[in-house]
Every structure is written in structure tokens, then in C-alpha cells.
Amino acid sequence: MQRTFITYCILFFIPVALGYLTVEYFTRQIPSSFQINKERLEKDSDQIETLILGSSQLMSGINAEWLFSPTLNLASGNQHHDTDFKLLMGLLPKLPSLKTIVLEVSYSHFELPHNGADFWKNSVYLDYYDINCFERFTYFKDRLIFLSNPSFFAEQLQEFYLDQTMQPKLNLFAFNYADSYGQFNALNYNKEAIDQKDSFKINLIENPALYHTNAALFKELIDTLQNRQLQVIVASPPMYPTYLKKRVPSILKRRNQVLQEIVAQYENVEVLFEEENTSDYELKDFWNQSHLSPSGAKKFTQSLNTLLNSR
């Protein structure tokens, strides 16, 4: 009876396992910046001089193709400073020529929770970059990409293979120069409609306790980089005017205080503060209220290039 039950269970779960493996295979075939970065890490790791970390704002805001210095952009959506720190510690031994690290400090970076050890992208970092951000022993399951965020990857599979609405155009530097994304594109870049749109993603909740923790970790990160004689550029990419207006003054004040402190305290730090630059960036330079489009990224990358070359 027991044997029959176990046999039936095995027979039942074989198709489930096979189905999963198929889904995992197709997930890995979707072009991704992680795959390109992995290949670059394998081929050019000894040449990389600049490393970019941060969230989607720097991922969409910097196209390393336009930088003179050989650069690897590892910024990724929702990636916070704690993950940046772990990635950095894992990558430093692999990047012997590294001179400069670009970190992101957006408006509410210090009042948003860190990713922690359970961040779903930890599987991606482990599998593609071979960096363990889980802070624990890992096993084969931790490398399964689809399983790390089934809902997200199921949508990607549908959009890429079935609907064919997601067709990323990634260059050799893992920058996506397809300009068909974003809320502004969906609104046909109609300025009036965009300016009237009041609901978009912005943090309005103050969290002074979290601010202290996050700011302390950020300073620890810079301390580590200073001890290793690495230069740091703290970047804050441009935001669309409606986003700028909606920012909470006290969150902004605390963030600016950290920026002032690190510039005064550390010799190896420079700040590229373009957040409030509304004169050089046009409507078409944005994907949405807080992310640059490829044309905006070109301008912001040029600013970064100027700063890198001036050092």
C-alpha cells in the first residue's frame, strides 16, 4: 500500500518536474542584461575600470557604450545598497583594474528597506555572477531562475514568446536601447496627459529609523572603498518635474544631509547630482517620471563621462 502510494506520487510528479525544467530552459533563453554581464565578466574582467551599481534608475540611465573608461553596469531594478555591497565584495577580487565605483543615491534611497538575504534576485546573482548574496549555504535550488520569482518570469515568458511585446535590444554593455517602454510612451509623449498624471511610483512615507541604518551602511560601504583606494562617484540621475514636485521635503532634507556629509568627509567621493536638472532633459528623455529613456541616458552618460575624465 505504501509502495503503491509512493509510486503514484513519483509518477504524478515526473511531468511536474519535466514541465518545470522546460520553463526554466525557456526563461534562460530570454535575452537579459545578466547574461551579457556574465559574458563580459568572463571575457573582460581584467580590463574593467569602472563599475556601476544601483537600481533601475542607473540601469536605464547609463549606457556604458558611451564611456571612455571600460565599464560594467551591474545596476538592476530594486537593487539596494546592501546588495551593492555584497556584489562589490564578491567582485573586487575578480576586477584587478577597477578604479571607480558609481553608486546611486536617489531621493528616498535611505528610507526604503534594504533587499535583505531573501531578495529574489539573489538567485540571479548566484547563477550569473557566482556571488552568494543569500548570506547562507546555497544548493541547486538557489540557482533556479524561474523559481526565484515565478510570477515575474511567467509574465516575461508570455511577453517575449507569446505576445512578443517585450523585445529587448541589448547592446554589448547590457544597455537596453529599445525605446518602446514606459508610461510616457504609452501616453504617446503627450505632455499635458503626463503632467496631469498624479499616480506614479514614489515613496512618500518617512522612515527616520531606517534612514539611520541605511545611511550608516552606505558610509560603511564608502569606508571600505576608501580603504581599498577606490574612487567613488555618487550619482543621482534626472527626474521628471512632476516627480520632483511630489518629493517629501523632510526625506529630501535627510538625503541631502548625507550627500553633504560624505563629500565633506571622504576625499575619494564626488557627487554627480543631476536629479533636479530640468533644463537639459526633455520629455522624450524619460521613460517615466523617474527613469531615463535611451536619449536621456545618452545625456546623463555624457555627464558621467566628463566627470570620469576630469579625475
Partner: protein, 474 residues
Amino acid sequence: MLFNSFDFGLFLIVAYGIYWALGSRRRIAQNTFLLISSYLFYAFWDWRFLGLLLASSLVDYWAGTAIEQSKVVSKRKRILWISVCWNLGVLVLFKYFNFFLDGFYELFQLEASSTYHFWNVAIPLGLSFYTFQTLGYTIDVYRKNIKPTKNLLSFLCFVSFFPQLVAGPIEKAKSLLPQFDRNRSFDLQKSKEGLRQILWGLFKKVLVAEKLGLAVNMAFQHPEEYNFITLSYAVVLFCFQVYCDFSGYTDIAIGTAKLFGFDLSRNFRLPYLSKSISELWQRWHITLTRWFTDYVYQPLVGKTKSSVSKKAIALFITMTLIGLWHGARWTYLLFGMVSALFMIAERLPLFKHRQTLRKVLSKAPRLVSMGYVFFGFLIMGVLFRSENVSQASLILKRIFSFTMDGQFTSLISWKLSYLFVLLIAELSYQKKEYPLEGLEFHLPKPLRWVLYYALIIIIIRYAEPKEAFIYFQF
């Protein structure tokens, strides 16, 4: 190790395989293995608190034995108090210390220094559940409701049994402890039911609770942006979210226990069908309500016929403690108090022929009584979900002042339709513990397998990155 994770699936397969491979007649070997598995399961969260789990078990094992051996009433009472002080002391120390300290500072308007939160430690997982279970055992021995066990291994298993260790059901020693002392043989039907109940629990947690959670979080993060209709709707969704989250967890726990040959208590009986708040508490987290009724409410009321006012005071204290049991937050305390006020109001003879509201509601059309329960749950739900009192008062103010200022959004996407699937399934099979129970008597095997595959595919397809069960924090 969350129940809805791959890790737990793997753990379960290995544990299940070894457990039955040991043979159904080797009870001691099976119990030893269960104990090791349970401690391993707990250590996955935080191995540092294993010592506390063991200490709690040993204290109550000793207390039970010592109470039994002593014939002097005062000594028995003294031992009982040692157990009570130990269990509640641990609970207060880990869970409520900073809360009381905050209250003390606020009460005496002392200036708080940044270092006064010196007890800066995480709350051990499942603490509120296993301390109540062990404490219940000692009280039952003291009351001579049960004989203390002489088998330490069985007792350690009773406290740490992994399916119900971190979030219940809170079992009575009378029902669970003897199961460790009996030989357990493989039961095909029970195993099938176990797997089906796990599947149903996963459906509730992954497809309903987590999707509802996305909508609810949106409204609770920025309540000032939404009008009263949206906020009321979000609170109703939250009620279903907590129900699906916790009852989903319970289904997985009960299903897992069945795989190992154990029966755990039912914790939910379609609470949304309640006709009063009192009935709601008899259908919601049944084992917790039962614990507080047996060990707090009954002693407060006493054995003799009590006056209405005495019962009301006892009820108020009990419900306030139930509120506080959920966590060291003013909102939980208020949640308990508001529940108590509703329940007291329902017991007062306010209507014709000294009828109580509860009686009137039980005779009223279901729509009326359910409307009343949802009104009560609207207030209680806001208190339960809000981070602090000011957030709760903002939401309640917007709801009850019918604020139209703010966005209207139904917060709905087609994914929420799983809630309706759940409701239809549960309402259609009300007599069953869960809708998939005894499915082989209704559907032929090929159709059953199609249904199982469909559920598994949907669960995997729509799973979000792992989120802990809401009741794990308690």
C-alpha cells in the same frame, strides 16, 4: 523554511521517506526522528532559539511530573506558578519588554535615550504558540484533566512537532500527546487527504492571500490618497487576506501532520458566514479562542453562576489579552478591546423580551447579520492591519466620514477572481473540512489528476517571491 517554499517541499519528502522507512512498529525511532526533524526545521529559522524551545519543554515536563507527585495543594499551586511565570516571563521578555518599557517612558514622560531599548533581540519564531501549548499542558495536569506523561521524548515531540510548531493550531495535550504514544501505521487514505489538504492550503496562500495582499498593501501604504469606498473595500479584502493566509497555513500544517499519521485540530470554520462577532470568534482561530476560554475566561468567571457584569469584565479582559497576544502594538490591544465591546453588546438584553443582539442576529436574514459582522470586522480589520494608531485613526476617519476626496480604484485585477473561486468551492462543500476532501468519491482518477495539475500549474505560475505567513510574526 516557509511552507510554500521549495525548501520545505524537499524537507518534507526526505522526512516523510525516512519516517515511514523506519517502520510503523518502531514508535521510539519514529518519535526520535520526528524530534530531530522538528528541531532541524526550527533551526532553519534561527538555531539560537532552540535552547529556549528545549528549556520551555523541560520546565513544563518537570512541572507536570512534580504537580502529579505532590499531594499538598499549596505545593502543587507553587509549581504551577513556576510554570506560569516561566512561560509568561519568556513571552514578556522577548515579545513585550520594549512595548512595556515604551509605555512606562510615555506614562511618566521620561526622556528616552537612544540606548534604552537594550533588549534588542528578534522574537523567537512560534514563541506565542508553543509557550501556550506547554502552559496549557501544565494547567491541565494541575486541574487533573489529564495525567502527566512519563515519556520525555513524547513530550518534547508534543511541544516541537514541526507542522504546528511555528503557527499552530495550538493543540491541547489531551488530543495531541497520546498520538505520540501510539503506534502509527501507514494509512493510504490519510496520506492522500494530507496531500490534497496541502494543495488546497497552497492555493489559499499563494493564489488568494498573496494576490489580495498586493491590493491591500497599496491602499494601506497611502491611505490619504484613497476615498472611503476604496479604503472600505481594501479592508474587506484584508479580512479575506488574513483568513486565506492563516487558514491556508493551517491546511498545510494539518495536511503535513496527516502524512505522518497525526490529526490536528480544525482552526477555521468558514468565519465569513458568522452571524455575530461572538460567533466569528468561534469560527476563527478556534484553538486560540478555546485556549483563552479554558485558561483565562473560565477562571475569571468562576464555576458558579456569575452576574452579567462579571461576565462582561471577564470577556473584556480575555479579548484584550487575545488582542495583545497578536503582538506588542497598541493597535492589537485596541483590536482586542473593540472585539470585546462588540461581544459584550451582543450579550446584553437590549431587545424585546430581554432578547440579546446575538439572538436577534441569529434569527435575522443572513444578509443583515453578515452586514453587521462585516461592519464590525471593518473596524477590527483596520486596527489589526494598521502599523500604528495614527494610521488606523486616519483610515477609520476617512471611512466613517465618507471622504470622497481621493482616488477611487477598485484595486481589482482578474487575479483577484481566485477569491471567488475559493468562496464558491468552500460554500459548495461547507460540510467538508476543505473542498478537496474525499475527492475520489466525486471524481474519477483522470479528472482528479487534471484538477491537481491545473492547481499546481496555476500556483507555480502566479507565485510571488516568498512572503512569510502573517501569523508567523505572532
